[in-house]
Symmetry: C2
């Protein structure tokens, strides 16, 4: 169902194929090292940890025979085999020479993680590497970035060790970040939340490969189901919007924009050397073309999670089941505040609920199944509500502090969710006992939220995008 | 600095002293049991786990010689000693008789955890226990509630085991909840967040002791520094506001209101048998009288944390230090969106920062100390900024994914925070490695937030309340 998007002609470089960078069969790491703490050592280690299946060539001008058990090279020119991706992790001043060698070695692409270019005023140095890239028609990501991480292709150019940033499991969310700090901490959060990653791309100064090129690539990438961007400014803002407008017809695009206040925009300008545009114009256009805007980092996770796991739905009638009265009240508020509503249950399902629930349960929405409700009662409620034609989606509040909620409830929820009958969001919040159960649900593809308002925001985003898609396609 | 508040004359009962309920020297547990899963067993166990230092009297009509090693009684009348607090955990129908016996035994107060009263339509039964309370001038909390938990007084009437709900450490936040579900899950969250609790009070149907009585008590309670309410409706709304207006002159009061939409209010009415008032009127009055309104459960935690740990400040000039450029941009946006601003640093501190920071660090705000910044560089920045007369508060973004951030940074932050020079909020977000470090900071009294926007909201609440206090006192 992926629509092919026409490549913009105003592209700032004349080569289009990023496949070698994103799905390399061979990788050279320039600056590779065995010295603990060296950037090139961490990257080398991460490639080995990721279990990269292609050829791995450590390159270091001071190298001996081997680095970490792999045959080592003093220069990329010594490799004399096809190189899909070169990862460059050496001080900025040395990058032009090394990049020139990569060009001569006919490398297909590069990731330059090194900082020390336009972001610190060295625009000349950055222009130099841009020209080298042009000359050899060799695209690169960076500089001043973390590069790429992909649990499926098993590539990992992050120069941060896995004990500091956990790597997410394989999944459908691709996360693209101009900023390394937002990128790395969000990658770590994605691991904590337990949902899966397709590709992580931190593109830094965007000297050659920029947000538009990446969007082109992800649009066609069959492993990417949801595209998430942290964007400060876009040098080719208009083109980004044009491409995104096509992409949202087939995939959700979630965007958080940094630099939306005047002072924030100045801050954005100084640290990645790109220009932040007027926020109002961005925000309106995001909405107009079906992009989902996250207003804070929390929302970025809320939205990625629901798009990754739940089917689209255009109706806004949400049935709430809860084992806590107060949370039912808060959920009701959150539903109506987010433009959602309660369904009018059919006579049949009312009758069936009445038959299955004990007399103490009031089946009116929000349906409070009681603090003593166990997996069976929750399961009955889910079953009946999911077959009601007036119910578009379900919010299930499962507080694991209550006597009836345990691991069996997790099984019941996961089983229901696997049926993918109707979109489901779960609200569970608390300390260790709760967290151990939410992790089980999350890792099985159930989106769990810490509050009714978070869950309602996620549902509203899902419904809003579904409606856009219905009209746009 | 606690102002004494004049007791309202419109009070619905004519006894005022809740000290016996909140600081009991002796506790009788009616329904106490050794049978696993029984409510009375869990409460008995929790009292023992809490290490209650007073006399403990298990009461059960079917009791033998002892229950859990304590001398057991068939009736509260058999105890024949002063009883400060009776915890009643038996089916609703039996409560009036037992309560009558408590009155005859001259018990000083009770907590009735049993449900099955007005909230399920049994208004007569509820009226009956109200009359008994009146007759014996014996106040009670509940019914249909979790009761009280206090790590300092070591009382714990919650009928939910500690493995499901962790109990917070001793601290300054008192949390009052009409709803048991919001109460119990928030109590659990408070434990997860690592800040300390003064008193937890879940008051359910508020038949006798209600939100106003509790507010009176907490106003005078020297262990309570911050008062947090989850409120659905208040039978004595006007009096609540009158009392709160006095309390906010000396203590912050944070409120989250459930039932703020029409449908939400209906839901609230059905589950605690109280009337939810018009939200708009509540919300405006909260603001007018210095209460801090939380709009979602997340904000309740944000605000409680900062009020508990940070000094008041009326200035809104917030200096941002960050080890991630993107987070600096988002922090700048969040600061300006929340009515805060950057300070103009003095010439002296600019000079001192320039002297201490490496040339690569741009000392303009948001000050990006770099991904490689360690505890020393962060410490230097904190030291200089905290002595700058133009800086009112500090937001420090410490991303532990970076190479320089480790346990030494935790020590530096905790040491700085212990000096209590200026309000400090920390932003750290991520998975296991980060979480182990944020827990260390939190448990040492540093308020840590998952995003710049959460931290900015907390600072804005602190400043807004501080300004109210300055004018009001």
């Amino acid at each position: 169902m992926v629509h092919m998007v026409k490549r913009s002609t105003a592209n700032n470089h004349d080569f289009a194929d990023l496949t070698h960078i994103f799905n390399p069969r061979s990788v050279a790491i320039i600056g590779a090292s065995e010295k603990p703490g060296k950037v090139g050592q961490v990257i080398m280690q991460n490639y080995m940890d990721a279990g990269f299946q292609g050829a791995l060539y450590p390159v270091n001008i001071n190298a001996g025979e081997k680095i970490s058990g792999y045959k080592a090279y003093k220069s990329v020119l010594d490799i004399r085999k096809e190189i899909d991706l070169v990862v460059i992790a050496i001080p900025a001043a040395g990058v032009p020479n090394v990049l020139e060698e990569c060009g001569k070695a006919k490398a297909n692409g590069a990731v330059i993680v090194s900082g020390g270019f336009a972001e610190v005023g060295a625009a000349d140095l950055e222009e130099k590497i841009k020209q080298i890239s042009k000359k050899y028609k060799m695209p690169f990501i960076g500089p001043n970035c973390l590069g790429v991480m992909d649990p499926r292709a098993r590539i990992d150019t992050l120069f941060l060790p896995t004990y500091k940033i956990e790597r997410p499991k394989i999944g459908g969310v691709s996360f693209v970040s101009q900023s390394g700090s937002v990128g790395s901490s969000t990658l770590d959060l994605i691991s904590a939340e337990g949902f899966g990653l397709s590709r992580f791309i931190s593109y830094g100064n965007a000297t050659v490969v920029d947000e538009v090129d990446i969007l082109h690539f992800l649009a066609k990438d069959k492993n990417t189901k949801v595209i998430v961007y942290y964007l400060e400014g876009a040098k080719r803002g208009r083109e980004f919007i044009e491409v995104a407008k096509e992409v949202t017809k087939s995939k959700p695009v979630v965007i958080i924009k940094g630099g939306i206040t005047e002072t924030g925009a100045t801050a954005a300008h100084s640290h990645t050397a790109s220009l932040a545009g007027s926020y109002e114009s961005y925000s309106a256009v995001f909405r107009q073309f079906g992009m989902t805007e996250a207003h804070e980092l929390e929302e970025l996770i809320y939205f990625a999670k629901i798009f990754d796991t739940q089917p689209l739905v255009t109706g806004n009638r949400v049935a709430v089941i809860t084992n806590g009265g107060g949370h039912g009240v808060l959920a009701t508020d959150a539903i109506y505040q987010n433009g959602l509503t309660f369904p009018q249950l059919t006579k049949e399902s009312q009758k069936e609920l009445r038959r299955r629930m004990p007399p103490i349960v009031n089946i009116a929405l929000p349906m409070d199944v009681g603090g003593e409700a166990d997996y069976k009662r929750f399961g009955d409620a889910l079953e009946v509500l999911s077959t009601d034609q007036n119910v578009d989606a379900i919010m299930m509040i499962a507080l694991f502090q209550t006597p009836g909620a345990d691991e069996k409830l997790v099984d019941a929820v996961v089983n229901f969710n696997n049926g993918k009958k109707k979109p489901l969001v779960v609200v569970s919040t608390g300390s260790s006992y709760t967290q151990s159960h939410t992790k089980l649900m999350e890792s099985a593809g159930v989106p769990v939220y810490e509050s009714p308002s978070a869950a309602a925001k996620a549902l509203a985003a899902l419904i809003s995008y579904s409606r856009y898609r219905e009209k746009a396609v």
